[in-house]
Subunit: 383 residues, 2 copies
Amino acid sequence: MTPFDAAVYADRRRRAAAQAAAAGLDGILVTPGPDLRYFLGYTPAADTERLTMLAIPAAADGAGDPVAVVPRLEEHDMHLGAVGGIETLAWSDGEDEHAVAGRLLRPEGRYAVSDAAWALHVLGLQRALPASSYAAVTTVLPLLRAVKSPEEVARLAAAGAGADAVFDEIVPRPFTGRRERDVAADLDALLREHGHEQVDFTLVCAGEHGADPHHEPGDRVIRSGDMVVMDFGGLADGYGSDTTRTVHVGPLTDREQHVHDVVRAAQQAGVDAVRPSATCQDVDRAARAVIEDAGFGEHFVHRTGHGIGLTTHEPPYMVSGEETPVEAGMCFSVEPGIYLPGELGVRIEDIVVAFPSGVPGLADAPGAAMRLNTSPHEVVVVE
Amino acid sequence: MTPFDAAVYADRRRRAAAQAAAAGLDGILVTPGPDLRYFLGYTPAADTERLTMLAIPAAADGAGDPVAVVPRLEEHDMHLGAVGGIETLAWSDGEDEHAVAGRLLRPEGRYAVSDAAWALHVLGLQRALPASSYAAVTTVLPLLRAVKSPEEVARLAAAGAGADAVFDEIVPRPFTGRRERDVAADLDALLREHGHEQVDFTLVCAGEHGADPHHEPGDRVIRSGDMVVMDFGGLADGYGSDTTRTVHVGPLTDREQHVHDVVRAAQQAGVDAVRPSATCQDVDRAARAVIEDAGFGEHFVHRTGHGIGLTTHEPPYMVSGEETPVEAGMCFSVEPGIYLPGELGVRIEDIVVAFPSGVPGLADAPGAAMRLNTSPHEVVVVE
């Protein structure tokens, strides 16, 4: 991905150091993956068992001195790759990497650690410093990457526009007589044509397969009369896209149209729930209420949405019990669905950016979620 | 990858249950990745934050009842994908997944957990069951996947033969005037032509870049007089290849030939160290001694080798301090190198299968490591 200015990464580290201090933590331990890309603009060439970890010490004023523990073999690449540079502490094969990393930590400290850090390493740190303690970043600092900067929203908007272009190009193509996997392959190729360097999923669920929200596209041949759920996305210049539309091969039955109408109304209700003082579970409740009122409550079997950024699934989650307030700049999916076993499924998904207390620059605008996807919400009939 | 018979997976689970009991553990918690492929033949479609975990209870007689915790959304796919089937315990969005998984565990139990399990999940289990404890699989059961069955050795041999074919095809091609990244792209394409469904690395390190063992191939143009280190591999039908050869553009200087001779002798010494009662560090010591005796000790900056199987880096490690005995059926790399900053690097790497107490079927054969790579060890001159 195109790196941001070095100042962006330094600022993120300062904010994180201050958030860690406010949460009563001694620091944040960042391992390879989206967290390390976020704070250092760096991705090691290979995801190996060797410990790589950026330690950001907590500091109320944000002025800590982050240090990266790195295998000596990778030290040179890290200096080349880290945007703006970083102090490193290298360890060599045969050394106890966790003891080396432990030198950067308080023996009785409490640290947040990247969700996807290897168990090998968090357990190794617990062994090296038995009085230290750890919590997953999303457990103690769930909002660390949740509020996007304008530059990040712009990347997400570009990724969403790419996904919308994919939808525009797929619907005129023939569906009847092709297998789910053929359409999925088209979606994959189209995503790459439209700026995606990584494709994470291209679900194509025809007819009764639509009732499984995570059905993997297979040899099922699409035929006239099928509802077809298409859910696709990936990373474009480092930021995620994720959109779902449900199309129909030929004219719909009244029941199919009704189910689609209910989901469409639920999706709109989820978007409309982004208002002053809304919490994440309010978004879920609003979408779910529409589906429950229509009598399909038991067939909406997943949460309403998830955050998106450097990954396609991250906090905040729009799910019952999640009382986190929706903040300006949060970007997440709103994707209710109805799944009727043996019959069909319908899901509609957009990525939105939240402005619960009003849209910046529009003094009179009410709180709102702005959609980053603009593909049509009415059901598209394909051939 | 082509699955093995269901009996293979069931047998692996039984052996693991017995090993866990022998190690005083209450069970093994297996998460997506190579461990789950090993024990269940299953890979979820996406690596997400949702908990998927196979719990194998310890049982001295191996007769436990493994159960897989799985997101409800993925339960259907797991039943389709798990070879031979498995009992599942599904959880839904909004439930506490760690509390659900905790129902399968003893509150004060001690468990081995996959090395690459997410910190989110191991910390979540610690929170759900505060009296339980965890250790990384490779810390407490390092040999769980280390000894390969004949069927696995056959897959590794096929992967190695594919890598050898890649070397055969790359050396007649022109090197002079091409960039490192061009040769690396050729290696990538050739690996795929020769049976690899995944390419993990294609290092091409010309001249002074050879002094960085993990140099990423870039725009450096290869020219006459360059030593060129090529280290490449990936997965073929699920099992890893990993080989390194150092070629030279045009005739070598005496010093270059000498350095290559030393590395070649060190590599042979490492292979020859696989004898009755040899430990992993003996392999490292034997290779390192040759390089130290030649006065290059400080320039051999990494361990001598690593295990290989469903991943390209796994236990056992051929490194100082590793006192694990080398067992029949262990497969690992032997890859000493010399790295002269600003000048050049030389590394030679083969994958071997160990028979420290004699080769099966050859009554009079001494202990030995059989190479799964047969590319030439003398330096190949390219143009």
